[in-house]
Each structure stands twice: as C-alpha cells, then as structure tokens.
C-alpha cells in the first residue's frame, strides 16, 4: 500500500465533515505531493499520475486519532509491533495513535520515547507516545518528566497501573503543571479491585466470577479530582466505566477543574450480560459494567461530559486468552472496530449526529494531547478517512490485521466501514472494492 513517491490523489464528491468548525459539505479534495491543495465543489485535473477515489455517498473525515493504544513494542513484539499496530490503525481510519508506556522496558527514559517516535516515522500512520509518570510504573518515584517532554512525549501515564500513593500522585500533578502536558489516569484502587475479574454485580454472582466494585474506579477518580483541583494539574481520566465517574467529572468540570475523560467502544457497546458466554475477550480493565453504567456513559457522550473515545487497543496472544476467565489476560484489541462499534452504538442506536462522533475521535483528543490534528484544510499534510456509513460488516477473525486477534467484537454485525485512509499524504489503506478507479 505504501508508495515511495507519493501519488496525487483526488477524492470525488465526498461529504466532508469538519469537526473544528462543526460543519458538513459536499466537495472534492485534491491532494498533491501529499498536501491538500484544493477543496472545491468540482475539481477537474488532467494528470495521468492521479489516483481517484469516488466518495460519492460517503463521508470524508479528518484522519482519526486514538489517544490510547498499546502497540506492545518494545518487549512484546509477539503480540503487536508498532508496524503491525499502525496497519491496524489505518484500517480503522486512524492516522494518529498514542502509545501507552507499559512496554518492556517501560517508556520512562528519553531514549525509549525517541525509539517509539522513530519507529513510528516509518510506519503506516503517525505514532506518538506518552511516557510513564513513575519509574518502571512502580508507583514509587517520579520519572524525568521534563526530559521526557523534551524527547516528545505528549503526556504522562502509568496506564495499566494506578499510583496508589496519594502523596506521590499529588507531587506528580504539581510537577506536571510545569510542562503543560496531560496526565492520563488509569483509575483503579488495587486494594479494592485486587483479584477481581469482572464487574461486581448480578452477573459476577451468577457466574461465580470475582467482582471488581465500581468503588475501585470511583474512589480514585474522586481522589484525583481533588488533587487536580488543588494542584492545578491537567488530568485526563481514561476508559471511564462507571456512572459515578461520569457524575463526578461533570461536577468537577462545572467547578473549573482541568479534567477531561474518554471511554472505549466496548464500554459503550456491551453490558455485563455478555459475560454469560465466558468469552475471555470480555475480560477487560476496567470491567464491562452494568446496563445502568453503559447508559450513563452514552448519556455522558451526548451531554459532552465525555471528551473522547479511545480503543485501549490491547493485543494478547491466543494462549493468554484461550484459557479460563481467572487465568486470561485483561484486554481487547479495538483499533479496527472502534469507528463501527461507536457508530453503531451511538449514531445508529442513539441517533447521535455523525459529526459529534467524528469530533470525539479526531479534533477533541487532538486538543487534549496538544497536537495539530483533526483538521481538513488546504495546505495541510493530508490525513483523511473516507467512511461508508451505510455498509454493514460482521467482524471475523480472518479479516483482522492486528497481530493479535483478541477482539471483543468478533461475531458482531457493525454498521459503518472505513473505505480508505490517507495517512501523511499517502493512501495507507483502501478497501478492495469497486469504488476505486485508477
């Protein structure tokens, strides 16, 4: 799919969605040498070296941005690499992803941040990275946040772990105010969640699986909002799962606390009744919670309390998932299904505007991590995604690009498909169908 010399591209008759200005209009887009050169109703070009994409009836969106993925490199390259993860990303319509720091070794030094960014340069999409907040994610001492920011980290996160030492968390917050980068927080009280596998509720009782109480998330969210209020730090609470969390963040925002948050499609799509299948791909952290929580998350999206949708793409080998619930690893992949799952649960079932969803996966997260993405404008490097909102597809293991196949959405019929993705000016992904003509 990658070409050494960038071919010029013409996207015909797509309905352009511009989340920065909250508008939609039908137009052609001409891309020359990777740069969007023209956005006009009718562009005619005489050029043999042009690749035309017929987007009639389709939506053209800024390339998506996923601010929470685990590409497993370095250390777990058997599960995913930056290269394979980026291929999965562009298949899902993403042109920018942000890696979490829980690799092996942990991304807690300048050289590791630079390594990931460098690897990303030669992959299918833009790959950014956060850096760890605590050395080795041990929750004991603060990383060289200043040096890590210099190296290009777009935020700090111990994702996968939660800093249980409140004093340390407070000092991390105070220190972070120097660098104007967000702290991306995985909220989990280890003492409460310890040993838990699934949401603590009716289903955990029926199925005999050890539960993880909502308190695990809520206590830490409450603590961190208090700490952020006092320190002035900018925090971003990731993979929100509880109703209480939505309510606390709503209130904190009203009080002026610098807090944002995101949610994953699997928390929007499923409730804990899915557990009856004992499908270990539903073993995720935080756990898929009750219908009441799911509805609160959907409502949080609609009301604007929730700022972004992320995949929390967490690849695992079959051997880690083809086992009992107790022994299986936490996590589901999600890059390839994020759009269609979110589109199905929000735009199809809840009749939410598509523009709003696009904003949640492009412009809004760009603002949070402080990068200039999520825009469609002449003169910019082309990062674009073409979507067919009418198409429906059943998710099958055989179609998954990601190196690991542990998707919670296997077997689900989802609406909305990515037709093609233009990443950094090149056609990085295209569905093999008749809409193309060369």
């Amino acid at each position: 799919m990658k070409e050494s010399k960038k071919k010029n591209l013409l996207i015909k008759s797509g309905s352009i969605i511009d989340p920065w200005h909250n508008r939609e209009f039908v137009s052609d887009i001409l891309i020359k040498d990777g740069i969007i050169s023209e956005i006009k109703e009718e562009i005619k070009v005489k050029d043999n070296n042009i690749y035309e994409i017929n987007a009639e009836g389709c939506k053209v969106s800024p390339g998506f941005l996923d601010m929470h993925v685990h590409l497993r490199e370095p250390g777990f390259e058997d599960e995913e690499t930056i290269e394979t993860g980026a291929l999965a990303a562009v298949k899902g319509g993403f042109t920018t992803v942000v890696c979490m720091a829980n690799t092996r070794p942990v991304v807690d030094t300048q050289s590791l941040v630079k390594y990931i960014l460098k690897k990303g340069n030669s992959s299918a999409c833009r790959v950014l990275s956060v850096a760890a907040m605590t050395k080795g994610l041990e929750g004991k001492s603060i990383t060289e946040m200043g040096l890590l920011a210099d190296a290009g980290a777009v935020g700090f996160s111990d994702d996968g772990m939660c800093v249980s030492d409140s004093r340390l968390m407070y000092e991390i917050m105070r220190y972070s105010t120097q660098f104007d980068l967000p702290l991306i927080l995985h909220e989990e009280d280890d003492y409460i969640s310890g040993g838990g596998l699934v949401h603590e509720g009716d289903y955990s009782n029926i199925l005999g699986l050890k539960g993880i109480s909502r308190l695990s998330d809520d206590l830490m969210i409450e603590r961190d909002i208090s700490l952020a209020k006092r320190s002035g730090a900018r925090i971003h609470i990731t993979h929100l799962s509880t109703r209480g969390g939505v309510e606390m963040i709503k209130k904190a925002k009203e009080e002026g606390v610098k807090v944002t948050c995101d949610v994953t499609p699997h928390h929007l799509f499923f409730n804990d009744s899915c557990l009856t299948s004992f499908n270990t791909n539903f073993k995720v952290k935080p756990p898929i919670r009750s219908e009441e929580d799911r509805q609160a998350l959907v409502a949080g999206i609609k009301s604007g309390v929730i700022d972004a949708i992320v995949s929390d793409h967490a690849p695992h080998l079959d051997t880690e998932k083809n086992t009992t619930f107790k022994l299986a690893s936490f996590g589901t992949i999600g890059l390839e299904t994020l759009f269609s799952a979110a589109f199905t649960s929000l735009c199809v079932e809840e009749k939410m505007e598509l523009g709003k969803l696009i904003n949640l996966i492009s412009a809004a997260p760009s603002k949070i991590i402080g990068v200039d993405e999520g825009k469609i404008e002449a003169g910019r490097l082309a990062n674009l995604t073409v979507i067919d909102t009418e198409a429906e597809e059943e998710i099958k293991k055989g179609n998954i690009v990601s190196k690991s196949k542990n998707s919670a959405f296997l077997g689900q019929k989802l609406k909305g498909r990515i037709i093609c993705t233009i990443s950094r000016g090149s056609l990085a992904y295209t569905i093999n169908n008749k809409k193309e003509k060369g």
């Binding site: 001492s141 060289e144 105010t177």
Partner: protein
C-alpha cells in the same frame, strides 16, 4: 548597638542592626588579612559553640571568628541521635552555662530549637542554623558579599535557584534580600517549592533568568536529604536548574554566582564551572562568601559581647 540580645532569625533584625553589622564587618575583614589575625578585644570572654548537628564549615567559621577576637571558644558537637534521649537541649544548655559562658552559638537539626534555647538562657544566643527554619548569619554574610561586589542593594535582580523545601538558607535569604529592596525571582521545580511560594515570582528553568540576573544564588541540592525523593534525577536537574559553562557564559557583565557551600559538583554546578579560569572565574564568588562569613561573624560577636 544591636536592638536584640540574640540573633535568632532575620525577621527580628532591624534595618539599623543590619547596617551596623555590615559597617563593622570591614574592620574585621581587614584584621583577617593581617599576619597577626587577632585583636584582644574580647579577651576573657567565653563562647560555647554548640553543634547538635554535624557541620564543619559553619562551626569552623564561628570558631575562627571568636579566636580572632581573642575570646575563648569551647566546642560541643553532638548529633541529635547521640544526645541521650531524655537529656533535653535545655539541660545540656544549663550544664554548659553553669560554667559561666558569655554567649552561645547553636546549630540544631530541628526547626525552632534555637529559639527555644534562647528563651531558657540569659546570655546571648546566635543561631547557626536550625532545621529548615533559619540560618541568619549565612543571610548576613551573603548580604555583605553583595554589598562588597555591588555597593548597593536596591533594584538588584536576584534569582534564587534550587530546592526550597529542604533549604534553611532560602527562607532567611529571601526575607533579608527583600528587606533590603532587591528583586527576587524564585527558580525551582514545583515539587521542590512550598505551596505558599506560588504568590512569588516563580520560574521553573534557570534559562528564564540567567541573562537578566545580577545575582544567581544557587541553593544546595541534596538528593539524599529530601524527605521523600520526589525529584526525578540529577539528569533532569541538570537540564533545568544546573549552572553549566554555557549558562555561565550567558550571564550579563558584572553579574555573580553565589552558593552557601559546600557545592555538590555535577549537580547544582558543573565541575567545569567550578574549575573555570580566566574572566568567567571572577563571577564565582563562593570563596569570597566564606572569607566574608568570618568577618560577619566577628562583627556579630563583637557587637553583642562588646557591650
């Protein structure tokens, strides 16, 4: 004469007191430059140098000061831990004062210890540093150094750089420098700064002040001294706060670098800066501070005991 019998903190010193101490210090500086570095002015006076916390420099400075004034000085050194539990500092003081001591110089690892001691004894007490509270003679010698270099205080731009949470020097110096009309900028990472400092002019990187400051005052950065080691690493410190050759070279003409000593080479100041020769060398007045420290302590002891 001084308005107080004891020197416990900077806040209790009147501007006139400070003026008097500085004016007298020149004479003592001259004495320290003689072949016979001794005047008989305090013959027959006995001073107790009580160090409840190890300190070589300050203790020696006071000892030399007292000896150059012909006073007898007795050293009592003890780390707090080795003072048998149950024997309070008050009892230790009373024992020593029973031997007819005329003045007490005291250093203690606990904030407020010197003030408590002062309230129990009749003789004058000089605070040689108490916990993270105050170190008034350091502040005065720093002020004297500034006076010798610039001949004025008002409007001088001072940047104090480093660890404010664990420093006993910072508090006294800020207080005194402000009193004398200097413009103070704090340069410190948020996590080495008490929260109430946010009201002051705070920067986080030495680069923000290096070019416009008349005085770069560098505090000690003792990684092992932090209550809890929140600051990430020496490398991070070097990036934002250390004085290196490049930064030294950007300082404006006539500006100086001060440090209360001892310098942690490679942490707050690089080895190259400490070893530099030639024109830039003149900017580093750390050794002059030590020399002036003796003169200031002589002046204080003289002004208190000479009455």
């Amino acid at each position: 004469m001084l308005s107080k019998k004891s020197i416990i903190g900077i806040e209790s010193l009147e501007k006139e007191d400070i003026g008097l101490v500085l004016a007298n210090a020149d004479s003592f500086l001259e004495i320290s430059g003689r072949d016979v570095k001794k005047v008989p002015v305090l013959r027959g006076k006995t001073i107790a140098n009580l160090f409840f916390e190890p300190s070589t420099r300050t203790k020696t400075s006071f000892e030399i000061a007292a000896k150059r004034l012909s006073a007898d000085i007795i050293n009592f050194s003890s780390s707090t831990s080795s003072v048998v539990k149950g024997e309070s500092i008050v009892d230790t003081l009373k024992t020593i004062l029973s031997m007819n001591v005329d003045m007490v110089i005291m250093r203690h690892s606990d904030s407020g210890a010197v003030k408590i001691a002062d309230s129990f004894v009749e003789v004058p007490v000089i605070n040689a540093g108490d916990g993270k509270n105050q170190h008034p003679t350091q502040a005065l010698l720093d002020l004297y150094t500034i006076n010798k270099v610039f001949g004025k205080f008002k409007g001088l731009k001072v940047a104090i750089v480093g660890d404010f949470i664990n420093s006993r020097v910072a508090g006294s110096n800020i207080n005194l420098f402000k009193k004398m009309g200097m413009d103070i900028t704090i340069v410190s990472p948020t996590i080495l700064l008490p929260e109430d400092f946010s009201k002051m002019d705070v920067r986080h990187c030495i680069d923000d002040v290096i070019e416009e400051s008349d005085i770069i005052y560098i505090l000690r950065m003792q990684f092992e001294r932090q209550d809890r080691k929140f600051y990430p690493s020496i490398m991070e410190y070097n990036r934002f706060l250390s004085l290196n050759m490049e930064r030294l070279g950007r300082m404006k003409p006539g500006s100086i670098v001060m440090h209360p000593g001892p310098v942690n080479r490679g942490i707050e100041i690089t080895d190259e800066v400490m070893e530099t020769r030639g024109k830039l060398r003149e900017k580093i007045v750390i050794e002059r501070q030590v020399t002036y420290g003796v003169a200031i302590r002589m002046a204080l002891i003289y002004l208190i005991l000479g009455q």
